[in-house]
Symmetry: C2
């Protein structure tokens, strides 16, 4: 199932789907139609693509009530516990506006304010992922966003997954609309009769959704483009191969493009994990997907020492990095690039997917080199504040004029000079 390789044999990047020119043409057409036709275009596309026959795009209060009836209480409780912990963690991410005063009377500062309106895309498809609803919506709620709008495609029965609706309500989403695909992204970017125009669109989707987001970028902000899931486990001989294999498989089951890599200096652990992978894989519901992903993008990689293992992890810059080594805290400082870092044997990656509190929307495909987990900062904007005093302007006038004139910008210089001119011209 898996062979043991050297660090040099690891490839660091997978191809990401960019979409074809034909798909782009379709998406552009959909966006233009939504801009022009509003709700009626949305209803038409939802009929065509989702087979749903809608009178009303917005999910009603009754539908929410029904959803709560349908979802088992144990799942509602679990979602509530998760929501509470996610809120708690993200509360700590909040930054405050700040100011600083100078002796000349100048005040400088940075104002931090929430975005006004945010749209969250939630994919439809074969399964519901209520945890993703929590992870995308709660940072926006904590940031103080006034209006959080969710869009998600209905099934042919005109309905949304009950667990998706419960998660939306628990997270604090204000309105949910039954529309998906590029048309949903267009609705959020331009606004329609029933869907308000937002400032930012977040959430994963298929290639049409991703393309639509890229095309409306600038009109609204978007989140990073998420790729297939990844896990790297750095482990030494102290690690339990059963745990390591289980954690690798937990990512491999996501999809056949997912990547699960073990980096270890221990040949014994490498062998044991290889055997465990085979054994545990047979027990999985998603056995085919996990097997394919392990075969295509999985690897057990033998390194010279732990240092090389950590260095290799930095080169991979994985979405999830587990350190299952004797003293993980000692190695934490060596980790440069990872979306989320899991320390020790009791921190399997799924803890972070659901209830630990940190966000599970993380940079993939090596982008942890420069991207960060989704968080409160993604739902705020900053404004610089400058309130100069006349004394401070006096102090700095010469420098400003020198710099402006060196750059050939005489009107910049003039705007300073007029403030020091005496006489009728100025009063």
């Amino acid at each position: 199932m898996i062979s043991i390789i050297n660090p040099e044999q690891l490839s660091t990047r997978r191809q990401t789907e960019k979409g074809t020119a034909r798909q782009e043409k379709i998406v552009k057409e959909i966006l233009a139609e939504v801009k022009k036709g509003g709700d009626s275009a949305l209803i038409r596309y939802t009929q065509t693509f989702d087979g749903a026959n809608l009178q009303e795009l917005q999910v009603s209060a009754e539908e929410f009530d029904e959803a709560y009836q349908q979802v088992p209480q144990s799942l509602i409780d679990a979602l509530r516990q998760a929501a509470q912990r996610i809120r708690c963690y993200h509360e700590r991410q909040k930054s405050q506006s700040w100011m600083v005063t100078e002796t000349e009377g100048t005040v400088l500062g940075q104002l931090i304010r929430p975005l006004t309106r945010v749209g969250i895309y939630v994919p439809g498809g074969r399964a519901a992922y209520p945890s993703s609803v929590l992870m995308n919506a709660i940072p926006a709620v904590v940031a103080g966003v006034e209006e959080i709008v969710m869009v998600t495609p209905p099934g042919p029965d005109n309905r949304i997954y009950a667990s998706t609706l419960v998660a939306a309500r628990e997270a604090g989403v204000h309105q949910v609309f039954k529309v998906g695909g590029a048309q949903a992204v267009g609705a959020l970017a331009y606004g329609t009769e029933s869907i308000p125009k937002v400032d930012k669109v977040v959430g994963p989707g298929n290639i049409y959704v991703a393309m639509a987001k890229r095309l409306v970028y600038g009109q609204v902000d978007i989140d990073m483009v998420a790729g297939p899931s990844e896990i790297v486990v750095v482990a030494d001989e102290s690690a339990n191969p059963v745990y390591v294999a289980a954690d690798l498989l937990s990512q491999a089951e996501h999809d056949s493009m997912a990547s699960a890599v073990l980096l270890t200096p221990s040949p014994a652990l490498a062998e044991a994990v290889a055997m465990e992978l085979k054994k545990q894989c047979d027990r999985l519901l998603r056995k085919e997907i996990a097997t394919e992903s392990i075969q295509n993008y999985g690897a057990i990689c033998l390194t010279g020492d732990l240092e090389e293992a950590v260095e290799t992890a930095n080169r991979l810059a994985p979405e999830h990095l587990e350190l299952m080594v004797k003293d993980p805290w000692k190695w934490m400082g060596r980790v440069k690039n990872a979306g989320a870092l899991f320390l020790g044997p009791d921190s399997p990656e799924p803890v972070g997917d659901y209830v630990a509190g940190p966000n599970h929307v993380l940079p993939t495909n090596g982008t942890a080199r420069f991207f960060s987990p989704l968080g409160v900062d993604d739902f705020i904007k900053k404004t610089s504040l400058i309130a100069y005093s006349h004394e401070a302007l006096c102090r700095d006038a010469e420098s400003i004029i020198t710099l402006a004139e060196a750059e050939g910008l005489t009107a910049h210089a003039e705007s300073i000079r007029v403030r020091f001119k005496k006489g009728e011209e100025n009063e």
Copy 2:
């Protein structure tokens, strides 16, 4: 030159240049050639596009020394003063890594680390803008970026503007390379023999540079796409029309696409500013550009009251917003969307361009609704930290398993279960 209009007549968005399919083909070809050919491709393109004949891409220590000889001491002093103030402001933007411990022994946190390498694009062209070098590089220096690389096209004399080099040195740039255009962006994204591969590319450029940045996005991070400059002045009858006109012109002179808008409830001020604009414009070096920009995108807009003026400013979400009103602090809280906010008569916008300290790289074209000024946060990345204890895993196991199974992810559930299994399988 300018007519007085109503808020409804204001258009909130200007077209931004997206580039043609032909230009995109050229840029893609250049990127591919740079990826393949490295330095030799860069030298070839620099010959073709810039007319420069380079042996060596990197600016030498001697060239830096010469630059300091050529630049007037007054300009060096002004750049130093500006650099010091910009550093001081940005130091306050730094966030710290944080951790929180729970009674069960769990540690959660967020690690904040600087990007490893950053590339700064500095345009060539008719004039040097050393202040932009400071504004792009200093936040990276303050963030703690290990290696800051600057690229800028040389003139046909194989040289870079002396003031650009002085600003680079004063800001703390580590290496400067003589290459511009799409080829420079490619070099930063892929790395060549002499130019290191970076994690992020920032800085303004022409349409080819902007397209190249868009195409390498994901491979590296990029900054927002900056549009033409904008200023909105909200003023009441207390404002000095000479100041207002001078500040409007200070943005209008940037380029013919720049936008300068006065919003005021005072007809007297509106009239006076219209007259002043005409008068002051005649004195400017860049009179033609300023006139064209005022005619195309300038406006004096009469509002019902100050409240409507501020509301209109929020709708425009301008790059720069000046509040020249009797009590600007009272109105600050009403401002929702602005890149930088200037309070009172002694805070003309050029103060913020050069020496106040806040960054002059700001969101344009209505994007202050969701984008922020360039800052230290643009040069860091975050990693979530999860270190669960066995007790905490016990506490949360049921919720995790419930959620994972509700999402059909049984391997996720298994990774928790294996940690509670007894017997030979596990030891």
